[in-house]
Symmetry: C2
Subunit: 317 residues, 2 copies
């Protein structure tokens, strides 16, 4: 089959062996796959990954347990042992022996077909379109931002960053009618307009904002974003870190101590709440789709995904 | 009166006007005052403070409300308005208009006498010696490390740093008989020996430690300390930042996101629990006293406090 592969000579569309499903796994025929900022980072060497890229996938089960055959499914990306202390403690996304679809030790979904553990599958109800369903993984990550600390009624909440993740977090917040302020700070008027239409307050990074936010979500992946967050948060506020930074960033962390800020790192989220949010229409991620390609044009799709101002690029059958 | 003053020409013992007590304040005759790492930082320009140094103080009330006259007291260092939203929310240490004794906009206690708000005073019971009582402020800060997240029975807890603050945090932990491991990581065998005698596990920084700590307290003030903490903490563990860093430190914060670490900044603590810990003998900080001087030798005391390996230097009457 054809697959978009990260290898020694970069990201290439190559012919690969068909995936096989050992006991406990299933093979999906890929219907939609999304290209994520993490994929672009991997292409630059992040995680040292080599193999088939892609971890945002909607597919049809074509091999596996009979009760799953033919099902339209999304797949969680952390493939965990379900036996170790982390898994037993309800944190399979931190299983120390996990593989991660298209990121760590396991081929991903920017391909014709992909093998995944049956335990990772979630059926997608018919009211969720293919285009929406492929957002389940990033939407789950966005919703997970507020799993440990959920903004309280009357809070002022600020999201910094108008990339795909920042926008999804904004769309999640747009459902909260009980906040004093829900604002996304970004650099791209066209992206912020998606949020304005959803009812959020938006600001360009150059604007002067009044500080004292109860909750700030950092979703820029830039040290400057974190520094801005530390300026705008109230003492004892919660700063949620959703994106990673290149090593060696120069940062003044003294404000964290002086103002007793709570900094929470946040990565992957649970799929069922994200599937439900899409099924009920609470979040519509489809305005984030910038472009779509067939798999045979995957190399071009990957380049397109890295262009400035581009949001989600899908590979669609 | 004489006072140790931070000014344009550095830290000098100078003649100053007597402090006055406006309504709501009291004047203390200083019995003991401690020199803290923060004072040494201020001498290097931290906080841009100029005035009388010193925020660790035990004194006798010689001017103020009649029911306080003659009382042997310690004084909290944050002088707050007690009316603003921060104060009303129970966070007077974050009052935006606060002054801070010897740190921000208010003369400190490395002097013959000092003025403080009556609301900041706490009586010291007779069973607490002068030498122990002068540790109330740093002990309160040490105990506050665990106010937001208290280690659970069976947890593994690591303190990084064997300076004064790290040692006090270690002594607080030494009372916890219900932890799987309570360890302090440091660089000075003589300092770590104080903790060994109190029953704690200790390690030199060069030792290989088994990772997976549930709670890590960073008390070195060095970016390398935070980096080591991020290596040694378990996924979803709690990392408590107790000391500030110079701006521009190069740090890789990606592990905070990948392992979903909770980072808690922690500064000043409440005095009553610290007074009680001393009164009951739960913590004995006196082994941390390296040296003592009279006020007339305060400049020499200040130099001594900055020498390598020196712990607490007191000014004592």
């Amino acid at each position: 089959m054809r697959a978009l592969v990260m290898g020694a000579d970069g990201v290439r569309l190559l012919e690969r062996d068909e995936p096989r499903a050992p006991p406990g796994e299933a093979v999906l025929e890929v219907r939609r796959a999304g290209i994520c900022a993490t994929d672009l980072e991997i292409a630059r060497g992040y995680m040292g990954f080599s193999g088939v890229l892609g971890h945002e996938v909607l597919g049809t089960v074509i091999e596996g347990p009979s009760d799953w055959l033919g099902a339209r499914v999304v797949s969680e990306i952390n493939c965990s042992c379900h036996r170790c202390p982390s898994c037993a403690a309800g944190a399979p996304t931190h299983c120390p022996t996990r593989t991660v679809l298209g990121i760590l030790g396991r081929d991903g979904a920017l391909a014709e077909r992909v093998a995944v553990p049956v335990a990772n599958l979630h059926r997608v109800p018919p009211e969720v379109s293919d285009d929406a369903a492929v957002f389940v993984e990033p939407l789950a990550a966005a919703m997970h931002a507020f799993d440990e600390v959920t903004p309280r009624p009357g809070d002022r909440v600020l999201v910094i960053g108008d990339g795909k993740l920042g926008l999804l977090i904004g769309l999640v917040l747009a459902r909260r009618g009980d906040l004093k302020e829900a604002r996304v700070l970004g650099r791209h008027p066209a992206k912020l307009a998606i949020l304005s239409r959803a009812g959020l307050s938006v600001s360009l990074a150059s604007e002067v904002l009044s500080s004292g936010y109860d909750v700030v979500v950092e979703a820029t992946g830039q040290p400057a974003g974190l520094a801005r967050g530390l300026e705008l948060i109230r003492p004892r506020g919660t700063l949620i870190l959703k994106s990673t930074y290149a090593g060696g960033s120069a940062l003044d962390l003294a404000p964290i101590v002086i103002h007793e800020i709570r900094v929470l790192g946040s990565r992957c989220g649970a799929f069922p709440p994200a599937v439900e949010a899409l099924a009920r229409g609470w979040v519509d991620p489809r305005p984030l789709i910038s472009d779509r390609f067939e798999l045979r044009d995957a190399e071009r799709a990957f380049v397109r995904a890295g262009e400035p101002g581009v949001l989600k690029v899908l590979l669609a059958r």
